[in-house]
């Protein structure tokens, strides 16, 4: 061979060698293909270090793992091992996100999210909580450590298979520790916390449109919420109430709680500080996760007492509305040893079962929407803050990020989330959040719930629950009830009448420069909202007001849901003389929009005498024969929804845009309904509700024609309203859907989207993250999740429960065949 040819040969080899470096991912034995190895579930033995005795994991046909151990150490160790086997990449991603380390993995696009997490102090809170747990509750901490050790045992075992996302991103797993479980707890806690963005948004609206309109659009209690609170009655708890304190509820709730007597902040100053409020709102919203799921987190739960139950067994239903991810936030699991016998769902990355049942008890969670955080206006000077007339040095915490040092300042209230100079004076807003106390022993509460055998055991367990406060639906074999457990900070207020009262939260920003508005304690456990076996036979908690006006600690900072789901649940249950498991299921799958049924009557009245084009007449016909059901084949729902969206746009939207408030949430449909009935000539409707509805209807029909054509029979709700269950990796290839989906924001079976004038609507990405129905006395337990146990996209258990979920069907949790048995030892 001539030297030139030989040289060419060498060059070709070098070129292939260079090019082949980029395709290691496709290596048949060590590339991405190896994830196929962990995609099946079959019986096998695992030889792992760290167990004291053998553990058996039986996996049933639904994908639920039943873990049997001889002691608690082995039980939690095996839970960690199994969780890592199924969901390691998800767990580690969650921990990276929550601890503010995202940019280390995905580069600069993760920086803003990291800054938000560090600003909120999630990892700082988690460290503090970890230390407190280790020192004060070593036996519980040991279980969390066992769970971590089980995860690490999997990572370092021969059975470890690199998850696909890790393969694609070239990431190696890091060793787990209790800190990561706790920092994810902090993240979930933050995502369900009320009291930070709500008072800020309220302050913006208030300072823009004034007190009267703000109160009209966002009343303290949403319109029509009377007699639909979580706790039945006027608000009295354990014989304690506002009246007991000599304060008239009607007087207290007639006051304007945004005035300076209540907040310590001059309202004209607040107006000047709108840029500061906007900064604060922006700084505390997580830019990474908000790109996945809009802020439509809610939940449903209700309990039926033994007196009202057709089987005389107390019953419970729960479906927490959370971002729907693939894989799910939940992992179906049963834990059994001499101390534990609990089944339900692990919040992935957390030891134990968060929602589930023992053989005698069952429990579920919803979010109560009352303030457990507060925002304070601070007066600053460089690195100092003013408090009670004296200057104090702010504490600083430095974090090293890719774009330099990120510094967080702390006043006595908490982290300074925004700063702003006004007329030579520096102001800041600080966040005082109960989770930063470092004593939210939620995992202890969870473990105690997991070992409960009576109603009282569950109540006692919840003494440890801190942040975020949750409505706990509880049933045992003989009782049913609720307690809104957790830490609610109290603020001492002096009413204009001179009376003092301790209230929960604030409507707007509080003065942080004086001690008067500092938290003065927490709502005592005995006076948390709670009731057992109510006379009417049922209770429900889909994010509506927790208690009515006579509650001894008024929820001034109560930013409740509109109550549409609460009304639907109340109407449904109260229409029955007794209640069965099948009716529990029927109610959980209810897709009638309660507000739409009422509002559509007003729409039809407004449109009846209007002259219409042929197309408008056809659309009107569908609207007039519509029963309020948001089914995928409904055309009336589509016409209603876009008419409502356009109505919102030409009323609230116009006003919001005038004040540059377009990022704020629109007032509830119940507000529109109330104003339409009581103030049809309001300026909000430009003097005429009827004309506004006509304009909205004409625009909506025109928009639908433009996007979907003039054949009205094609305007089905399922064509414009779609569900996508997105992968946390943002890869659409790992996502599920889109699927046509029923429901809207107000249906019990929820399918919430913002009222936007786009076709199709933005994907539904928040919904029933699991559905659970329990009846301990009759030993009936049913559940389903929109996904499956596996985090491996190639596994049939990645989405095996999804079709059942879409069809509103359930798995009998007691009666499933075992498809594989793992022996760990």
């Amino acid at each position: 061979m001539r030297p030139v040819s030989f040289a060419a040969l060498i060059i070709i080899i070098i070129a292939i060698s260079y090019f082949s470096q980029g395709i290691q991912l496709l290596s048949p034995a060590n590339g991405a293909w190896i994830v196929i190895k962990s995609s099946g579930i079959s019986s096998q033995s695992f030889s792992i270090k760290g167990l004291e005795r053998n553990v058996t994991i039986s996996i049933d046909a639904t994908g639920m793992a039943h873990i049997y151990a001889y002691n608690d150490h082995d039980l939690f160790f095996a839970q960690g091992f199994y969780s890592a086997y199924q969901r390691l990449d998800q767990m580690e991603f969650q921990a990276i996100l929550a601890s503010g380390n995202l940019s280390r993995y995905i580069g600069k696009s993760g920086l803003e999210s990291d800054k938000t997490m560090l600003l909120l102090g999630l990892s700082r809170n988690a460290y503090l909580l970890q230390n407190n747990l280790r020192v004060n509750y070593p036996s519980y901490y040991a279980l969390i450590q066992d769970f971590s050790d089980g995860i690490n045992s999997y990572i370092h075992s021969n059975y470890y298979v690199t998850p696909l996302v890790f393969k694609l991103a070239g990431i190696k797993p890091f060793d787990w520790s209790p800190f990561y479980s706790l920092v994810w707890q902090e993240y979930m806690s933050w995502s369900l916390t009320t009291g930070a963005s709500e008072p800020l948004a309220y302050s913006l609206l208030y300072s823009s449109v004034g007190p009267s309109l703000t109160e009209q659009l966002w009343p303290y209690y949403p319109y029509y919420s009377e007699n639909a609170t979580v706790i039945p009655g006027d608000g009295e708890v354990n014989n304690f109430s506002l009246s007991e304190q000599g304060i008239s509820p009607s007087y207290l709730w007639s006051l304007d709680w945004t005035q300076s007597w209540a907040t310590g902040v001059n309202t004209s100053l607040l107006k000047q500080l709108t840029p500061l409020i906007r900064y604060a709102l922006s700084n505390i919203s997580d830019p990474y996760m908000s790109s996945f799921a809009s802020n439509f987190v809610g939940s449903n739960s209700w309990v039926i007492t033994s007196a009202f139950s057709s089987t005389k067994s107390p019953m419970l239903a729960n479906d927490p509305h959370l971002p729907l991810y693939a894989p799910s936030l939940w992992l179906p699991i049963q834990l059994v040893d001499p101390n534990f016998s609990v089944a339900g769902w692990e919040l992935v990355g957390e030891p134990g079962v968060l929602i589930g049942h023992t053989s005698h008890t069952a429990w579920g969670l919803t979010t109560p929407e009352g303030n457990s955080a507060n925002v304070y206006l601070e007066i600053l000077n460089g690195s100092n803050y003013l408090f009670d007339g004296k200057w104090y040095q702010m504490q600083t915490v430095n974090y090293s990020l890719a774009d330099g040092i990120y510094r967080v300042y702390y006043t006595n209230n908490g982290p300074v989330i925004a700063r702003y100079n006004l007329d030579g004076k520096e102001y800041g807003i600080s966040l005082n959040w109960v989770a930063s106390r470092g004593d939210s022993y939620d995992l202890i509460a969870e473990i105690k719930l997991d070992t409960s055998s009576t109603y009282q055991d569950m109540i006692d367990a919840l003494r440890y629950w801190g942040s975020p406060p949750q409505n706990f639906a509880l049933v045992s074999t003989d009782h049913a009830g609720y307690i809104t457990a957790g830490y609610y900070p109290l603020i001492n207020e002096t009413l204009p009448s001179g009376k003092s009262v301790q209230v929960i939260g604030s409507r707007s920003i509080l003065n942080g420069s004086i001690s008067k508005y500092e938290p003065s304690g927490l709502v005592p456990f005995n006076y948390l909202p709670q009731a057992t076996d109510p006379e009417r036979g049922y209770m429900f908690a889909p994010n509506q007001p927790t208690v009515w006006e006579n509650y001894p600690y008024p929820f001034i900072g109560g930013f409740w849901a509109s109550g549409g789901r609460a009304q639907a649940i109340n109407n449904y249950i109260s229409s029955k003389s007794s209640f069965s498991i099948q009716q529990m299921m029927n109610l959980q799958s209810n897709i009638t929009d309660y507000w739409a049924v009422q509002l559509n009557k007003l729409f039809l009245n407004s449109l009846s005498n209007m002259s219409k084009t042929i197309l408008q007449q056809q659309a009107y016909s569908y609207l007039s024969s519509w029963n309020g059901e948001a089914s995928t084949d409904s055309i009336g729902m589509t016409v209603y929804w876009y008419t409502l969206s356009e109505l919102d746009n030409i009323t609230y939207g116009k006003m919001y845009s005038q004040y540059n408030l377009t990022n704020l949430p629109m007032p509830f449909t119940s507000t529109t309904l109330y104003l339409a009935i009581n103030q049809p000539n309001s300026t909000i409707f430009a003097g005429s509700f009827e004309n506004s509805v006509r304009t909205a209807f004409i625009s909506a029909v025109s928009l639908l024609e433009k996007s979907l054509g003039s054949n009205v029979s094609k305007w089905q709700w399922g064509n414009v309203h779609l569900l996508q269950i997105q992968s946390y990796s943002a890869l659409s290839e790992l996502s599920l859907g889109p699927y046509p989906i029923w429901g809207d924001s107000h249906t019990v079976s929820v399918g919430g989207v913002p009222e936007e004038l786009v076709i199709p609507e933005p994907y539904v990405r928040v919904g029933s993250s699991l559905r659970f129905i329990a009846s301990p006395l009759t030993n009936q337990f049913y559940g389903v999740i929109p996904g499956g146990a596996s985090g491996n996209v190639l596994s049939s258990y990645y989405s095996n429960q999804l079709q059942f979920w879409l069809n509103h069907q359930y798995y009998d949790m007691n009666n499933q065949s075992i498809i594989a048995r793992w022996e760990l030892g």
């Binding site: 090019f19 290691q24 048949p28 196929i36």
Partner: protein, 121 residues
């Protein structure tokens, strides 16, 4: 070269190919896989190298259920923007080309060394 040397070279090359495939993910390992093939003339070494690496790397896929291979190929294809079939064949092709050209190279080098020794003696 005697036939059993040639058979031994082929067997050795196949063994190295499987070791490379199972324990590494570098297609450049084809250089080592190809070394025993120096016993052949360059063109035959090229053909033998290509065949050994292509077949051995494709055979690895039989470790997995084919339906899963196809499912994952579709996912990777969608992410990378290249056709599914290429996702499956790209590594075997590059590994084979690496082995083929390396085989020819080793054959040339050994043959050149042989000629030089002959000339020197």
């Amino acid at each position: 070269m005697k036939l059993y040397y040639k058979i031994a070279a082929l067997v050795l090359s196949i063994v190295i190919a499987y070791i490379s495939l199972l324990y590494t993910s570098f297609a450049a390992m084809g250089i080592i896989v190809a070394f025993p093939l120096f016993v052949f003339k360059p063109l035959r070494s090229f053909i033998a190298g290509f065949a050994i690496s292509f077949v051995s790397s494709l055979s690895i896929y039989t470790l997995y259920p084919l339906s899963k291979v196809s499912q994952l190929a579709a996912i990777l294809a969608s992410i990378s923007g290249i056709p599914s079939i290429l996702v499956i064949l790209l590594y075997p092709i590059l590994f084979s080309l690496m082995t083929a050209f390396s085989g020819a190279m080793w054959s040339e080098i050994i043959s050149a060394i042989g000629k030089r020794r002959k000339a020197n003696s």
